[in-house]
């Protein structure tokens, strides 16, 4: 049976409800929150700061260290064991790689910028929410970046091309599923993250990427608004 209608009633190219806020963690140099449906991500940026151990230092430029962490009771499945896992290590790595193309850390040789992404509750699309939050937090930390990074997952569920899969769609049992998280620089349309779980035709993938550009523009607007709001709050 084809997947003609989404369980939560959304249109095929509609994301879940998005909410963003900047400056949520006072002690951090930059911080942001990004909620998409029931997936919540908080990102805190510390630095540039002194880097130890010393062998990690790069005398040419600063380095970016990302840490993705799901809280113990954040997911609908079993309790997530605290501490790093194979999965969190991979996501930390790809998050860093998705953010690095926009960042310029040449001014900070031998130092590090730390990004901590915490997810108090998740329901699919957590790496994308994490990337969105982290990119806002990096901007809030005053780092030089030529663009923000927007991310959202796309996919094909039983023949239908969808935007922002939720958990029920990601784990759809009655047909084949392809889950494709994409991160993009919204202004230039360049892709900084493209992963895929499942199978999809080349033409369909290209169609999804075209669709992504439009969705990313919407997410960029939300991020932009959140960043600007931080400085307007006082005026009221």
């Amino acid at each position: 049976m084809p997947y003609n209608e989404r369980i939560d009633g959304r249109k095929f190219d509609e994301t879940r409800e998005i909410e963003a806020k900047v400056g949520v963690i006072a002690r951090a140099d930059g911080s942001a929150m990004f909620k998409i449906g029931n997936t919540w991500a908080y990102a805190a940026v510390y630095g540039p700061r002194n880097l130890h151990p010393k062998f990690l230092q790069d005398p040419q430029k600063g380095i970016l260290r990302c840490n993705y962490n799901m809280m113990p009771f954040s997911s609908s499945g079993e309790r997530v064991r605290p501490g790093g896992s194979r999965r969190s290590k991979e996501i930390s790595l790809v998050t860093g790689k998705a953010l690095l193309p926009v960042l310029n850390l040449d001014e900070y040789p031998n130092s590090v910028v730390d990004v901590f992404i915490e997810l108090p509750q998740t329901e699919a699309g957590s790496r994308c929410a994490g990337i969105c939050a982290a990119s806002m937090a990096l901007a809030d930390a005053g780092l030089e970046m030529k663009d923000l990074v927007c991310a959202v997952s796309f996919g094909k569920v039983d023949g239908s091309l969808l935007v922002d899969l939720d958990y029920s769609e990601e784990s759809y049992k009655d047909g084949p599923v392809a889950d494709i998280p994409i991160a993009m620089m919204p202004n230039s349309g360049k892709i900084t993250l493209l992963q895929m779980d499942g199978e999809i035709r080349k033409e369909e993938l290209m169609e999804l990427i075209e669709k992504a550009k439009k969705v990313m523009a919407d997410i960029y607007e939300v991020q932009k608004k959140a960043l600007k709001e931080k400085y307007h709050e006082v005026e009221i």
């Binding site: 031998n110 901007a139 930390a141 780092l143 970046m145 663009d147 960029y220 400085y231």
Partner: protein
């Protein structure tokens, strides 16, 4: 003819297009991509004639030659002191730059500056690898005794000081405190405890509202309303 897209003194986010056309020039915090000028960071867009620049609103301090900063002594070595500059890089103060006093061979350097002491010093050199050298020879450079040190956003330091020091002089007069502002975002305040608190509150207010106009009047009102505390001695 160029088209300016942002309003003067509005907040721009990374990647936002500020202006289109080759007549306008990209200033600090912006870059050109094709015809358009885009924001390179989060900041306040300022249009100055033909150039557009961004004034940063956040970010850590980066050591710059000529800055007067407040540092904490974090290590004492054979030849000098290592100082925490409230940035990603520590600074080195050599014996000859530290004091005009004669330091005998093999003297215990902690009798001049001990661990945890705060000093006001000036950056004389920053290398490409951000090795920082500071000196304490110069007017107003000294060890800070008593009082308290608070941390403010280094990007707000110009607003705390004000034009020709007008803002900090106003706070000093109103609170009867001695205040020294380091460009690295550390501020030393020494006075009656309640007045010190008032000075801190005033600076926090400046920090929060620094991007809004009419700040001096607001702070003046604030200081007048909250008054000066005097202890009966």
């Amino acid at each position: 003819m160029s088209k300016i897209i942002v309003q003067d003194k509005s907040i721009a986010v990374p990647g936002e297009t500020l202006a289109v056309g080759m007549d306008m020039l990209p200033g600090s915090g912006t870059y050109r991509e094709g015809e358009s000028i885009k924001a390179n960071r989060l900041g306040l867009a300022v249009i100055d004639g033909r150039t557009i620049k961004l004034i940063p609103l956040s970010g850590r301090y980066i050591p710059k030659t000529g800055d007067t900063i407040i540092c904490k002594v974090i290590d004492v070595s054979f030849s000098g002191w290592r100082l925490d500059t409230n940035s990603a890089y520590s600074a080195m103060m050599s014996m000859k730059d530290a004091t005009s006093e004669f330091i005998a061979r093999g003297a215990n350097l902690t009798q001049y500056y001990d661990l945890g002491d705060y000093v006001m010093c000036k950056i004389v050199n920053v290398t490409s690898q951000k090795l920082v050298d500071v000196t304490m020879k110069g007017p107003g450079l000294r060890k800070l005794r008593g009082g308290r040190v608070i941390e403010v956003d280094p990007n707000k330091v110009p607003r705390i000081i004000g034009k020709q020091g007008s803002m900090v002089i106003m706070i000093k007069d109103a609170t009867k405190c001695n205040i020294s502002v380091g460009q690295n975002g550390l501020v030393w305040i020494d006075g009656e405890p309640l007045n010190e608190l008032l000075a801190i509150q005033a600076m926090r207010k400046i920090e929060r509202e620094s991007h809004l106009s009419g700040l001096t009047d607001k702070i003046k009102d604030f200081l007048e309303k909250n008054g000066v505390h005097r202890t009966n001695v």
